[in-house]
């Protein structure tokens, strides 16, 4: 009936066949995979391009400064007129101070939040809190930066009178706060994907809720939790604005967290926003530092990838 009803008296099958054989459809089918492939290629090529530029300019830097002086030197004074030194260890140490403080702050709080959300929170509470956490992860880091400088540092100075205006402690804590949502959210995902049947198995043995969370769910979700922490570490290593604003610009080689420091990222900001001329050693040094940082975060990301593959639990 329907075929007779249609305008030109064709059956439905005829119309389908016509549409299938139409040129437009055939071209689209051929063209689309190519366009999609190009889109994928652009991101890959850009990454490769960036890495190559980094390597290229870094190579140029090492024509001027010996690689051992760079890797093992404990003095970073690129601006000292006649006798600049480029020992990267103070910058690495500054970066590690921030990262370690951030992790000390973020891991316990992030994990506790994840356990609460996954094991204790009602559906309603979870649906309210998780989006808020994710919004927190979207706050621009510059905002965190002046939060560290103008809010956290003064409070800490009340507690520790010897604390300098620019120090490692305050930005370290704030970087920690910044990565809490990342750890909490990703760990919560990992813990929520532990099947309920396993929780029931433990509850049926007379385990309390907390015993189930700590002794069953946490170990079962460990791979996801560890990779969330590793990703957070990688984020902390690369964090720039908070440390530039609140950490200072003094590359120091010691373990003091109350004084001014400089991280790898903060150094790059300092040079990029200053007036180092093109082609100077200082100009090339930011590529070397950038490349060093890249190696650090690359290792972290590969580690996260490896851990989540290697320790994945099949339920």
């Amino acid at each position: 009936m329907a075929s007779q009803g249609s305008g030109n008296g064709q059956s439905i099958q005829d119309m389908i066949a016509k549409s299938r054989n139409s040129k437009g459809k055939k071209i689209t089918e051929k063209l689309m995979p190519i366009l999609l492939f190009i889109a994928a290629l652009i991101s890959v090529l850009t990454t490769i391009g960036i890495v190559f530029t980094l390597i290229f300019e870094t190579f140029e830097f090492f024509q001027r400064v010996s690689i051992t002086d760079y890797l093992f030197g404990t003095n970073w004074f690129p601006f000292s007129g006649n006798n600049p030194t480029f020992g990267v260890l103070p910058l690495i140490l500054g970066t590690l101070k921030i990262t370690v403080i951030a992790i000390i702050v973020a891991v316990p709080i992030g994990l506790a939040a994840a356990i609460y959300l996954s094991e204790y929170a009602s559906d309603k509470a979870r649906r309210t809190i998780k989006p808020i956490l994710e919004v927190l992860a979207g706050v621009p880091t510059i905002v965190y930066g002046f939060f560290a400088l103008t809010f956290v540092t003064p409070i800490l100075q009340q507690l520790i009178p010897s604390l300098k205006i620019f120090n490692a402690l305050s930005p370290g804590i704030v970087v920690g706060i910044m990565i809490i949502p990342m750890i909490a959210s990703l760990s919560e995902d990992a813990m929520s994907s532990v099947p309920n049947s396993i929780r029931e198995g433990a509850l049926a043995l007379g385990a309390t809720k907390f015993e189930v969370a700590i002794k069953v769910v946490l170990p079962a979700a460990l791979s996801g939790i560890i990779s969330s922490i590793v990703l957070a570490v990688s984020r902390a290593l690369g964090e720039t604005m908070i440390v530039s604003l609140a950490g200072g610009a003094t590359p120091t080689f010691n373990f003091d967290v109350t004084g001014s420091i400089q991280t790898m990222t903060a150094y790059i900001v300092q040079v990029s926003s200053g007036d180092a001329g093109y082609g100077t050693t200082i100009y090339y040094s930011i590529y070397a530092v950038g490349f060093t940082l890249f190696i650090f975060t690359l290792i972290m990301n590969l580690l996260a990838h490896y851990i989540s593959k290697r320790f994945r639990e099949e339920y």
Binding site: E200, A202, L203, A204, G206, A207
Partner: protein, 284 residues
């Protein structure tokens, strides 16, 4: 004496029947001497507005294998999950009436659910070992209840695995992940895990529905061995299984107990027409 023991309609029915059938009388009288593990009195349960269990009256005796049969959605799983209060994990559940475990109402406010579940173990429909080694699976229960001594744990693990008839298959790979085992082996690991804290009662919620016939047979044989030391309540949708392994059978329909009697009786001469229809495969 007998009269004071009459606790509900079902036992009364038993006695009426046994007086008609002399052969069965001794079984019933033996039965009266057995202790009641679970006494259910006028028990009702709702999921929100859905009335899932209606006025359940059921006395489950020590060292019996009690089978609970009935079509899907009849409340049989809900009932055994009420016995260790696992049903409370569903937030919208409401109950009234009484379930006594060893003469104490488990729904009393001061009854600690962990204590109940330590006494009343459970084996689930789908094998649910922890993603840990076989050893740690078995040792989990004793450990959370404070047993730390390695030697004692070793003994418990071996004893439980032997008790679940799986020791010979896994003794050389106790440190391997339990997920590497077959479904049937995993289910016996779960039974061993349950035995490790030496419960009084074992609840089994369709324990063989996810298993192949050979594994099913092994679990059924195991149930027969375990009944000497444990009271077992098993939910099954497989009537042959109920007939093979149980001493008593309760037939549930639409949230009510239609009939509860010796398994032989239920499967040969059921009293209720609906039981007969179900047994003979006319519905469900």
């Amino acid at each position: 004496m007998v009269k004071t023991m009459i606790k509900n309609e079902n036992t009364m029915k038993n006695i009426v029947q046994s007086s008609q059938n002399v052969g069965e009388e001794s079984i019933i009288i033996n039965d009266q001497n057995k202790n009641t593990v679970f006494g259910t009195k006028n028990f009702n349960l709702w999921y929100g507005d859905h009335h899932a269990l209606r006025d359940i009256n059921l006395d489950i005796k020590e060292n019996d294998v009690t089978a609970i049969i009935g079509p899907s959605g009849c409340g049989k799983s809900t009932y055994i999950k009420a016995l260790n209060r696992m049903v409370e994990l569903v937030p919208i559940v409401k109950t009234n009436g009484v379930i006594n475990y060893r003469d104490r109402n488990i729904f009393e406010a001061q009854y600690e659910v962990e204590e109940l579940r330590t006494k009343v173990g459970m084996v689930f429909q789908k094998p649910n070992p922890f993603p840990k080694s076989i050893y740690d699976n078995i040792a989990y229960g004793p450990r959370i209840h404070g047993i730390k001594n390695k030697k004692v744990l070793d003994e418990i693990v071996e004893k439980s695995l032997r008790g679940a008839a799986i020791w010979d298959e896994v003794k050389d790979r106790l440190n391997q992940n339990a997920y590497g085992l077959s479904g049937g082996q995993q289910q016996r690991i779960c039974i061993a895990r349950c035995l490790a804290i030496e419960p009084d009662v074992i609840l089994m919620d369709e324990p063989t529905s996810a298993l192949d016939p050979i594994s099913t047979l092994k679990v059924e044989e195991l149930v027969q061995e375990l009944k000497d030391n444990y009271s077992i309540i098993i939910v099954t949708h497989n009537m042959q299984q109920a007939a093979r392994i149980s001493d008593k059978t309760a037939f549930f329909l639409n949230g009510e107990v239609v009939e509860f009697d010796n398994t032989d009786k239920i499967f040969s001469t059921p009293t209720d027409q609906r039981t007969e229809d179900y047994i003979s495969g006319r519905f469900g």
